[in-house]
């Protein structure tokens, strides 16, 4: 039973029981290609949400004032380099083909984010301009997806934002969006 690289990934190994949970969490979060939700993390390292929360708080404190931070994004935890070091960090990274979003794209995305599910016509009523091309761009970039059809004549597609949207903007979840400004009429 003393196979070091156990492989089967059972969490109850004798050898593994002695390893600090904090280190296991650090290692798992470090290698994970996606933010890890608490639940999934718990299943992997065999710990309760409370244990995990304590350990994550410890890790966050340890990474305070360093080049790397442990962030909660799109419903999960993940390590990121800190923004102050971006100009160096990006020099070792490949350049993304997709440029930053245009104003029109951001606007359309905002409407989808706050009004989802929403049809193209509803978006265009607010923006006052055809939004076909913009929706295509957002769909191609997997920031929005169609989610069924509205039950009105023509049965138009309804759009909603994706997990990739949360990722892209570093949002914890949709409730992490700042509240939409009250129109000044209501003030």
């Amino acid at each position: 039973m003393d196979l070091p690289n156990a492989g089967a990934g059972v969490n109850g190994d004798d050898a593994e029981r002695d390893l600090p949970l904090k280190n296991a969490v650090e290692a798992v979060l470090f290698v994970s290609p996606d933010p890890l939700p608490l639940k999934k993390l718990g299943r992997i390292v065999g710990a309760s949400p409370d244990e995990l929360k304590a350990v994550i708080a410890e890790l966050r404190a340890e990474y305070e004032g360093r080049g790397v931070e442990l962030a909660f994004v799109a419903g999960g935890y993940r390590f990121f380099s800190r923004p102050e070091y971006a100009s160096w960090a990006k020099q070792v990274l490949p350049v993304e083909k997709a440029p930053r979003l245009s104003r029109a794209a951001l606007e359309t995305l905002a409407i989808v984010a706050y009004r989802q599910p929403v049809t193209r016509v509803q978006i265009e009523e607010i923006r006052g301009v055809n939004s076909d091309a913009v929706l295509k761009t957002l769909t191609d970039r997997k920031l929005v997806v169609t989610d069924g059809r509205e039950d009105v004549p023509g049965r138009p597609f309804r759009y909603r934002t994706t997990k990739q949207f949360l990722h892209y903007f570093g949002l914890t979840g949709l409730n992490d969006l700042p509240p939409l400004e009250v129109s000044s009429e209501e003030e």
Partner: protein, 234 residues
């Protein structure tokens, strides 16, 4: 006139109206409709002269504005007794306000995008993207273009028979200018020559903005507009 490419505009008539209102610090609840209509139509003319793909919605809005303008001229005597006449601008104001809320939200998303674009995940999974294809509203640029055009020599001052540059030639020329400028280039310094050359140069700039080869930035309203090459050019 050797420019036929119609560049798409993704901003709509509501953007243009809000831009005009904000530029002159006008009250959205009391829009001076005659003045705004006149300015709106002037922009529409210029956009057509630029051969931009002006969406039909711009013309619908023009018609709406003119309709509101004439409704405003109706004698007040027609107000039904006891009732208050609805302001002919009310629907437009409501639409602008609603749209403004989402524009503000888009601004919030933009700053999150900026912040997030500076964080990279561990383990080489990261990518870094270049800057926004267009840093400022198209209308900010058209506004600046109007100033440049006002100073441009009339066509008749130009030697007849000389062919103007094509859009493709001018795109290359703008690229060269940006490269030569190194860091950044003042918007107005990009332009020289007759009206038609200025217009083709402007379209070339729009094309480069669209493809993300450069971006523009104005630090504050009325201040200098700068053109920055993105990494693709460096």
């Amino acid at each position: 006139m050797d420019y036929r490419v119609k560049l798409p505009i993704y901003e709509g008539p509501l953007d243009l109206l809000l831009f005009l209102l904000q530029r002159d610090e006008l009250d959205i609840y009391d829009i001076p409709i005659a003045r705004i209509t006149e300015q709106y139509l002037a922009y529409l003319d210029l956009m057509q002269e630029l051969n931009l793909a002006v969406a039909g919605e711009f013309f619908v809005m023009a018609a709406t504005l003119m309709e509101i303008k004439s409704a405003m001229l109706l004698p007040r005597a027609e107000v039904p007794a006891g009732g208050e006449m609805e302001d002919p601008r009310a629907a437009l104001v409501a639409q602008l306000l609603e749209y403004q809320r989402y524009k503000a939200a888009a601004g919030g998303l933009a700053s999150r995008e900026q912040e997030q674009s500076l964080k990279f995940p561990a383990g080489g999974d990261g990518r870094f993207s270049q800057e926004a294809p267009l840093g400022e509203s198209l209308f900010v640029l058209i506004e600046a273009l109007q100033d440049v055009l006002a100073r441009a020599p009339e066509e008749r001052d130009v030697v007849p028979g000389l062919r103007g540059p094509t859009l493709e030639e001018q795109i290359d020329a703008v690229r060269e200018r940006l490269k030569a400028a190194g860091g950044r280039l003042r918007f107005e310094d990009l332009f020289e020559g007759s009206r038609i050359v200025v217009i083709v140069t402007f379209l070339a700039l729009l094309e480069l903005l669209r493809t993300g080869e450069c971006r523009v930035r104005q630090d504050r309203t009325f201040e200098e507009i700068w053109i920055y090459p993105t990494l693709a050019l460096v």
